[in-house]
């Protein structure tokens, strides 16, 4: 199997791990599934670095390991332990509908990506389509999940999708760009965790359906 094929194949695992993040019952398990997914992402960066002889990507892989495999899941796991990790409320829409929408996102992404002419994107179009679909999975997670921390994980999935797109289209981009994006995303997660904790302390709930007094 060539390295390019391996990259395209590994992105399939991202879809699987995304669905696990969205659908497992306990939010703490979702945080662990997110860590698992980030290991796959780091693997893709390493294979891509080897295939395209892009030295910068090894650094990306290292910083993604620190921030996405360790730091963000640890922050979430710890925060969820403090609030008792309540079982997630039922989805706003059923799991079957979620899977169907995920499939639609993949199909639409393949159609959109097929129109891109950029030479650097040519060998990785399947992976690029998955990275875009992955971004929409994150959006789907936010729309369908009613637990505050699961919604936060949706943002993390979107961010992983963006990160992979950047790696596929600009694998020689300087490390500084990647660090800027990763740092800001981690900072965003920290802020949302702090706000989520404040909400739990004051309102004793993580269910967003309890946050619906403001209307009109």
């Amino acid at each position: 199997m060539s390295s390019v094929t391996l990259v395209n194949s590994l992105t399939g695992l991202l879809i699987l791990t995304s669905l696990l993040v969205i659908e497992v019952k306990r939010p703490r398990w979702s945080a662990l599934m997110y860590s698992l997914q980030s290991i796959v992402l780091v693997g893709i960066f390493v294979v891509l670095a080897y295939a395209m002889e892009a030295g910068q990507l090894y650094l990306w892989a290292a910083s993604a390991f620190i921030t996405k495999v360790v730091l963000v899941p640890w922050l979430l796991y710890r925060a969820l332990s403090q609030v008792g990790d309540p079982e997630k409320p039922r989805n706003a829409m059923g799991a079957t509908l979620s899977f169907f929408l995920a499939a639609v996102a993949v199909a639409v992404s393949f159609i959109v990506v097929s129109q891109i002419q950029l030479k650097a994107a040519a060998p990785f179009k399947p992976a690029l389509a998955v990275s875009m679909a992955h971004f929409f999975f994150g959006e789907l997670c936010i729309l369908t999940q009613r637990n505050l921390f699961k919604q936060l994980l949706g943002f993390c999935l979107m961010e992983n999708g963006s990160h992979l797109t950047l790696a596929l289209l600009a694998y020689n981009a300087p490390e500084l760009v990647e660090i800027g994006i990763a740092t800001d995303a981690v900072f965003g997660v920290v802020m949302m965790v702090v706000l989520g904790n404040q909400i739990y302390k004051r309102l004793r709930t993580l269910d967003t359906s309890d946050l619906s007094t403001l209307k009109g």
């Binding site: 963006s162 797109t165 600009a170 981009a173 949302m192 706000l195 404040q198 909400i199 004051r202 403001l214």
Partner: protein, 520 residues
Amino acid sequence: MTETTYLTWLLLIPLAFSLAAFAARWLGSVCRVVVETAHLLSVTLVLVISFLTVNAVLDSGQLFGMSHWLHVDALSTIFLLIIGVVGFLVGLYSIGYTRHDLETGEFDNNRFSTYYGLFSLFVFSMLLVVTANNIIMMWVAVEATTLGSAFLVGIYGRHASLEAAWKYIIICTVGVAFGLYGTILVYSDAFNVMQVPGSAVLWTEIVKNTQALDPALIKMAFVFVLIGFGTKAGLFPMHAWLPDAHSEAPSPISAMLSAVLLNCALLVVFRFATISNLVLGPSFAQTLFLIFGTISVAAAAFFMYVQRDLKRLLAYSSMENIGLIVLAFGLGGPAGIFAGLLQAINHSLVKALMFCATGNILIKYHSRNLDQVKGMLQVIPVTGVLIFVGALALVGTPPFNIFVSKFFIITAGLGTGYAWLMILCLLLLTVVFAAFFRVIASALFGEKPDGVGQGESNWLTLLPGAVLILLILALGLYIPPQLMTLLNGASGLALTGTPIEPAALLNAKDFWAPLAHLLP
């Protein structure tokens, strides 16, 4: 301080004062005095350096800083002016407003210093948005505005304010993630074309190399950017966070969100629209602007009509005005952009006035509900006058500033062949007019509720409003030549990335021409 260091100082000052305000909580009894003094110094210095920067841009066209990572030109200078002026006046108002919160026990020293620390951080992040030349940093800055201001929205720690803060942070972070995706697509494309990593990230360099960019990728990127940063700007249908955050935040923060932040997000959209115009031609971005602008105005008009909550009414009015600005950009040609930018300035001043006056109402009536706020002219007559003049200005009554910019938008639309759209627009603005006067009239007149004493809170809650009224009236009667120069320069930059030719410079008389054609 030299011209080349203006931008660095502009960012360092609010950042340093933010840290000072956070640290002041440990000063005990002098905390309040130290924080207020530092805050006043910070907003004053930002105002002064903003004016110095504007002056330098008028002289030399543009300024760079920090190895070209920072950049201001005529377009960003307009937004810089808004931050400087509104930031100063609302910052001044904040002092009067938070003194009341301290008196009533809403704020203790901790919350007081957190408020001012976050206020300066918020100003810093917005300054970073308008001065960023690095498109990734531009995104980071927009994200930072959300993170800084979300805690301000939820600062009272009540159920409703925490709910609003969560909606704000989650919707805007997701929105801005769309913006990130679009930014990454543009950067990746530019990087592959230019092969100079340091330059591919700079907006000023990307616009010089647009001929080789991939049209499909740029088209996709602009849609992501418009959805993403359009969420932050409060465009329909991504506006869901806006009425909640505006209504639950402390009134000075509502003013900053509405009068400044929404505009900053729009600036980022306009920066990417320039790239889209150069790669795809202007029609793609303009069509999207017309669609999003029109539906935002229409939706806001009807939401406003059913509102009984004063701050939510003003929040939807912000959505209407942002819609108008975007619609003006969609009309095509420099005249539409000119009118849209003038509307951005005018709306900022009026909305800052309205939210500050609403803060005075909250102090006195402890309610935003228009069924309970009655007889303002008896209870708080000066605030009543501020609200009355602000409402007249907001709906576009002469001789106030918004009348001029709305008039320019309509004539720019007539001049570019959108007569039917302008008629629709005028009808929607009539709904807005009716919505405003239905509620404002009942709040101003009517019988004052029992138990509400007469008298304003303190002079600091009135002075900024009085200054804003003077500015609103002045800009309704006269547009200074320096501002005309900036608006002309900005129109060219937004359209093509380069300043407009001197022969094509617009002046106020040009906006009468389309009407003259219609007359027999």
